[in-house]
Amino acid sequence: MTHFEADIGSLRERLLTMASHATTAVRNAMKALTERDDDMSRQVEQDDNDLDNFEKEIDEVAVLLLLRAPLARDLRLIMVATKISHDLERVGDEATAIARRARELNREPQLKPYIDLPRMAVMVLEMLTTAIEAFVSSDADKARSVIPRDKEVDQLNKQLHRELTSFIAENPANITRCLNLMAISKRLERIGDHAKNIAEEVVYFSEAKDIRHTQKPDDASGAPAAP
């Protein structure tokens, strides 16, 4: 193995570690919500620094690798690595936001049993892990399978919004809690978007095909524009 290959390998490794940190952050944030655990919430906020540092570090390694003028697969990997790390850093931000909202919710009694939000969390976490697995095995088909699932998450988010809106209409005292829950739902939906972005990057990495913004307009109704 050449030194270059070793460095490329270490870039991939860092990215995978970062991904595991990001998914853990989401999981912990949801735990803070469902188990009403404020300590866990603070933990998530603290851990976000690690993700920020990972992003910086990956960019640094990427620049050093780009100095050697890589081509073809290597070039795509480095380009994609910086984008994925950016998405993962944003996932961390979403997790932090969820954790903060959880803390606010924990100050009041639970409005209703949490069923849909954990379901959404499971969905977006699955999307994230599948996208990362697709990256590891450079499996474009697997990555593609993530993309349609983003719509299911969007649907769930919309459904939750309607439900929570009716709660507000019933009793204005629910407003704060409902708004917080809506915000969490929105954050989870954003995590789904990031997972979808990562999946698209993985397709570019393994097939050199840019599939971003290629959905038909009517399909894309619920999907916010990718960054």
């Binding site: 050449t2 270059f4 290959e5 003028a69 890589p70 081509l71 073809a72 697969r73 290597d74 070039l75 795509r76 097939e207 050199a208």
Partner: protein
């Protein structure tokens, strides 16, 4: 996005022999099952490809892969080597150039060449360019002076040498010498310019000047360049052909060859993982 990218980035698949029928992109140079033997050793194996007019086409591949030999088929420079045998077809503008009835002098007038090591004649700068003009019948000193100036300007060398045209070309720097060789080649108005690693012996600044020049020259000339420097190929060429062991492995737009080659050998070569 389209307007900020140079047009060459948006060019897609290269012309092939089949394109001739479609009429849209008639290749200027076209080979069909071109094989070349040194004695018994086969140096080129049935190479078929088409090179489009007024674009830069780069030949890459490890040493000894036949890219230079292939380039030298286009102006029959391989004729100079004993025991060389060629089979198949090589057409320029539709006309086969491999036959023994081909006027090689006329061919080389239409297909100029620049070599790896700059090789100016040990004559004055003016005489270096006038040499080719005289070979092809120029006698009028005034017209010749105009052509010399035009060629030197074309090779981005005029401003550096206009006050010392009568000085020896050997007093120029390596990069200037190479640009003089380019000026000498374009002075006789060829259609095609073959370049065999023209910048491999130059420092980065001289290399950059040559590369800028090549991008300017492609407006008027069809350029085929052999290079070992893959970054150079990405910077200047529209199409890239990868050769290995005398075979054409892959031929595609430069963009594709260097971001997403289709053949494993190409991928291994451009990423530096060649066994």
């Amino acid at each position: 996005m389209a307007e900020i990218l140079p047009s060459r980035l948006t060019v897609e698949s290269p012309p092939s022999a089949g394109d001739r029928e479609s009429g849209t992109t008639v290749p200027l140079i076209e080979t069909e099952k071109l094989s070349l033997f040194y004695g018994r050793a086969q140096a080129l194996k049935e190479i078929s490809l088409g090179i489009r007019e007024r674009v830069v086409t780069a030949f890459i591949g490890p040493s000894g892969c036949g890219k230079s030999t292939f380039l030298r088929c286009f102006n029959r420079m391989n004729d100079l080597i004993d025991n060389v045998r060629v089979s198949g077809h090589c057409r320029i503008g539709g006309e086969d150039i491999l036959g023994s009835d081909v006027d090689v002098i006329e061919l080389r007038k239409r297909v100029g060449m620049v070599f790896q090591r700059s090789n100016p004649f040990p004559k004055s700068i003016f005489e270096n360019i006038a040499y080719g003009l005289r070979l092809h019948g120029a006698r009028d000193r005034k017209a010749m002076a105009e052509t010399v100036e035009r060629s030197l300007r074309g090779a981005a060398l005029w401003d550096e040498v206009k006050d010392r045209l009568d000085e020896s070309a050997l007093g120029l720097s390596g990069g200037q010498q190479q640009r003089l060789c380019i000026a000498r080649a374009i002075a006789i108005r060829p259609e095609i310019l073959l370049m065999d690693e023209p910048a491999s012996a130059l420092d980065p600044i001289a290399t950059m000047k040559i590369e800028e020049l090549i991008l300017d020259l492609k407006k008027e000339f069809t350029i085929v360049i052999v290079t070992h420097n893959m970054q150079q190929a990405t910077r200047i060429s529209d199409y890239t052909a990868f050769f290995y062991l005398g075979e054409l492995i892959e031929y595609d737009s430069t963009h594709r060859i260097f971001t997403n080659p289709q053949k494993k050998q190409t991928e291994d070569y451009v990423t530096g993982r060649f066994g």
